[in-house]
C-alpha cells in the first residue's frame, strides 16, 4: 500500500471518528434537553429510591454537566452503554447480537440492488427506445416513490399470508438452531426468511442506480472517447462494457455515498414490517418502550454502520476513478 493511500485511509478514519463523536454528542444533548427528568435516560423509574441514588452516583449524574459529558464519552468509547430497562441486559451485548442481521439484510440488499440496477440502467441506455424503456422507467420511478414498508406489506400479504411461499417474520423458524454463522447464512430456512425483506429492500433501492446509470450512460455515450473507440474499430459490446459503462459507474458511485443515510432508514422500516431482528427493529422497540439506554446504543451502532458504508463507498469510488488521487483528499 502506498504512503499516500494509507495516509488517506487514516484521514478518513479520523473523519469517521469525528462524525461518531458528533453523533454521540447530539445524543447526549438530546437526553439532557429532553423535557422531563434527565435521570430517566439511565435509571429505570421502577427502581427503589436507594437503587436510583446508587445508579445516579455510578453514572455520575450528580456531577457537573461537562464532567458527565466526558464520562459519557469514555463509557461509549469503551462499550459501556448502560443496561437495557426492558431486557435487563447490557446494551452493548444486545446491539452487538443484532448487528449481523442488519448487516446481512442491508449489505445484501445494497449489493443486489446496485448490481441489478446498474445492469438494467446500462441496458436501457444501450437499447434506447425499446418498449421496455417506456415501461421500465416509470416502474423504477414508482418503486422509488412508493413507501418501502407498503411494498413490504403487499409482498407479505401476497407471498406469505395468501400463497404461503415464505414465512412472515423473523430470521428463523421456531426451534431452529445453527452451529455457525456460515451455516446460518446458507441454510434454506434462513434464506426463505430473508427472501421477502430482501426483495422489498431491493425493489426500493434499485430505482436510483437504474435511473442514474441510464442517464449517465447516455451522457457517456456521447463523449468523444466513446466515438473514438468506435472509430478504432472496436466491437460495440466491448465499447459499451469496458468504456461506456465503466465511466458511467462513477456518478452512480458518488450518488450511492450520498444516499446511504436514507437507505438505512429504509432498513429500519423494513425490519419492522417483517419483524426482522436487526438494529432498526431494536431501535423502534427501544424508543417505543422508553428504553433509553438501548435506544442510544442502537442509534449509535446504526450511525456506525452508516459511516462504515460511507467509507466503503469512498474506497470504491477511489478505486474506480484514477483521477482521484489519495493525496488530494
Amino acid at each position: 500500500m502506498t504512503r499516500a493511500s494509507s495516509r488517506w485511509i487514516a484521514q478518513r478514519l479520523a473523519q469517521m471518528l469525528l462524525v461518531l463523536w458528533v453523533i454521540a454528542t447530539i445524543l447526549f444533548l438530546i437526553f439532557r434537553l429532553m423535557p422531563g427528568n434527565p435521570l430517566v435516560a439511565y435509571i429505570d423509574p421502577n427502581f427503589t429510591a436507594e437503587q436510583q441514588r446508587a445508579l445516579v452516583h455510578e453514572f455520575g449524574l450528580d456531577l457537573p454537566l461537562w464532567q458527565q459529558y466526558l464520562l459519557y464519552l469514555k463509557a461509549s468509547a469503551t462499550g459501556h452503554m448502560g443496561q437495557s430497562f426492558f431486557y435487563h441486559a447490557p446494551v452493548a451485548q444486545l446491539v452487538w447480537e443484532t448487528l449481523p442481521n442488519t448487516l446481512i439484510l442491508t449489505g445484501g440488499a445494497v449489493i443486489v440492488a446496485y448490481l441489478l440496477g446498474t445492469a438494467a440502467g446500462a441496458f436501457f441506455a444501450w437499447r434506447r427506445g425499446a418498449a421496455a424503456e417506456g415501461i421500465g422507467i416509470p416502474l423504477a420511478l414508482a418503486a422509488r416513490a412508493a413507501p418501502e414498508f407498503w411494498v413490504g406489506m403487499i409482498l407479505l400479504a401476497v407471498f406469505s399470508f395468501s400463497l404461503r411461499w415464505f414465512p412472515s417474520s423473523g430470521t428463523a423458524s421456531p426451534g431452529v438452531q445453527y452451529a455457525s454463522v456460515w451455516q446460518q447464512l446458507t441454510s434454506p430456512d434462513f434464506l426463505r426468511h430473508l427472501a421477502l425483506p430482501l426483495a422489498t429492500f431491493v425493489l426500493y433501492l434499485q430505482g436510483l442506480p437504474l435511473l442514474l446509470m441510464r442517464s449517465s450512460m447516455l451522457d457517456v455515450m456521447e463523449e468523444e472517447f466513446v466515438v473514438m473507440a468506435r472509430m478504432k474499430g472496436l466491437p460495440e459490446r466491448r465499447i459499451l462494457l469496458r468504456h461506456a459503462a465503466r465511466n458511467a459507474l462513477l456518478p452512480v458511485a458518488t450518488a450511492f455515498a450520498l444516499v446511504i443515510g436514507y437507505s438505512l432508514g429504509g432498513d429500519v422500516v423494513i425490519e419492522n414490517v417483517f419483524s426482522w431482528p436487526g438494529l432498526g427493529r431494536l431501535l423502534v422497540k427501544a424508543v417505543a418502550s422508553k428504553d433509553y439506554p438501548l435506544a442510544q446504543g442502537a442509534f449509535l451502532l446504526i450511525a456506525a454502520v452508516a459511516i462504515l458504508m460511507n467509507l466503503l463507498a469512498d474506497l470504491a469510488y477511489a478505486w474506480l476513478d484514477p483521477r482521484v488521487s489519495y493525496a488530494k483528499r
Binding site: 458528533v22 416513490a145 407498503w150 432508514g265 423502534v284
Partner: protein, 306 residues
C-alpha cells in the same frame, strides 16, 4: 458610494423583480413541454382539491366508528355504502383516505418550504461569503451526511413529541444540506457574473446583492429541490407514522397503514384497506419527481439526443 445612492437608479430593482417574474414564469414553460410534468401538476392539483374539499367529499367522519342499529360495521368489504370498505373497528376507509390528504400535503409543502428556505439561505450565504463562513457551513453539511436520517427523526420525534410540526421541524433540520450544496454551487458561478460585479462596484451591500440579484437566479434550482423535498417529506411522515411515532390525532395515510398492519389486515387479506393509502402516497411522490424532472430539463437542458 453608499448603498443609499442605489435607490435613485431604477434598474437594479427592476432587474430583481423581472428576474423573480421570469423565474416563476418558467413554470408555464415546463407545463407546455413536458407531459409528465404536466401530469404531475394535475395530480398535485387533484390532491390539493381533495384536501381542501375533504368535508364535502368524504361521506363519513374518518374517526367515527359506524354503527347501524346494533351492528358495528367492522371489516366490511368495498361496496356501495362504503366505497373502500371499513376498518376492523368500523371506520370508513374512503373517508380516511380523503382526509388523509390533509396531513400529507401539509407536511409535504410545509417541510419542503422550510427545507428549501433554509437550504437556499445557507447556500447563498455560504456561496457568496466564501471564506470561513463557507467552510464552516460546508463542514456542518459534511458531518450531517454521516447521520442516518430516519433513525434520527425517530429519536427526535419520540423525544419532542409526536406532532406533525415536530416532523416538519426535524426534516428541515436534517434535509437542508442537499439544497444548500446545489444552491451554493450555483451561487459560486453567479458570483463572478457581470451583473453581480457591477452591483458590488456600485456599492450595494452584500445582503442586497444576495437578495436582489442572486436569490432570483438561484430560485429555479431551489424550487427544483423543493419539489423533490415534498416527496421526501411525505414519505418520511408516512414512515414515522407507520412505526407508531406519528400524530395519532390526525388520520394520515401513514397512520392508516400502521393501523392496518397492527390490525392484522395483511393476514386477513384486507387489500382494500392497506393498498389505497400507499397508492396515494406513491402518486403524490411520483408527481413531485415528474415535476422536478421537467423543471430540471428546463434548467439544464440536455443536448438533443435523437
Amino acid at each position: 458610494m453608499r448603498s443609499g445612492s442605489l435607490e435613485a437608479l431604477p434598474r437594479p430593482r427592476a432587474a430583481g423583480a423581472a428576474a423573480w417574474r421570469r423565474a416563476l414564469g418558467a413554470l408555464g414553460s415546463v407545463l407546455r413541454h413536458d407531459p409528465f410534468a404536466a401530469a404531475g401538476i394535475c395530480i398535485y392539483a387533484v390532491f390539493v382539491l381533495v384536501a381542501l374539499l375533504a368535508p364535502w367529499i368524504a361521506p363519513y367522519d374518518p374517526q367515527q366508528t359506524i354503527v347501524r342499529g346494533d351492528d358495528l360495521m367492522a371489516s366490511r368489504p368495498p361496496g356501495r355504502e362504503f366505497l373502500l370498505g371499513t376498518t376492523n373497528v368500523g371506520r370508513d376507509i374512503f373517508s380516511q383516505l380523503v382526509y388523509g390528504a390533509r396531513p400529507a400535503l401539509t407536511v409535504g409543502f410545509a417541510a419542503a418550504f422550510c427545507v428549501t428556505l433554509l437550504g437556499t439561505v445557507v447556500g447563498i450565504v455560504a456561496g457568496y461569503s466564501g471564506g470561513w463562513i463557507d467552510a464552516l457551513l460546508m463542514r456542518l453539511a459534511d458531518v450531517a451526511f454521516g447521520i442516518p436520517f430516519l433513525p434520527l427523526v425517530i429519536v427526535l420525534v419520540a423525544f419532542l413529541g409526536p406532532s406533525l410540526w415536530n416532523i416538519v421541524l426535524t426534516m428541515a433540520l436534517l434535509l437542508w444540506k442537499d439544497t444548500a450544496r446545489v444552491v451554493r454551487a450555483q451561487v459560486l458561478v453567479l458570483r463572478e457574473r457581470g451583473f453581480v460585479e457591477s452591483a458590488r462596484v456600485l456599492g450595494a451591500s452584500p445582503v442586497r446583492v444576495m437578495l436582489v440579484h442572486i436569490a432570483p437566479n438561484v430560485l429555479p434550482v431551489a424550487l427544483l429541490y423543493g419539489s423533490l423535498a415534498v416527496g421526501w417529506a411525505i414519505l418520511t411522515e408516512a414512515s414515522v407514522s407507520f412505526l407508531g411515532f406519528g400524530d395519532a390525532t390526525q388520520i394520515s395515510w401513514g397512520f392508516m397503514l400502521q393501523d392496518a398492519y397492527v390490525s392484522q389486515a395483511l393476514s386477513s387479506g384486507a387489500y382494500n384497506w392497506f393498498v389505497p393509502p400507499g397508492i396515494c402516497i406513491m402518486l403524490v411522490v411520483m408527481a413531485g419527481y415528474f415535476i422536478s424532472r421537467g423543471y430540471e430539463e428546463l434548467l439544464f437542458p440536455r443536448l438533443r439526443r435523437q
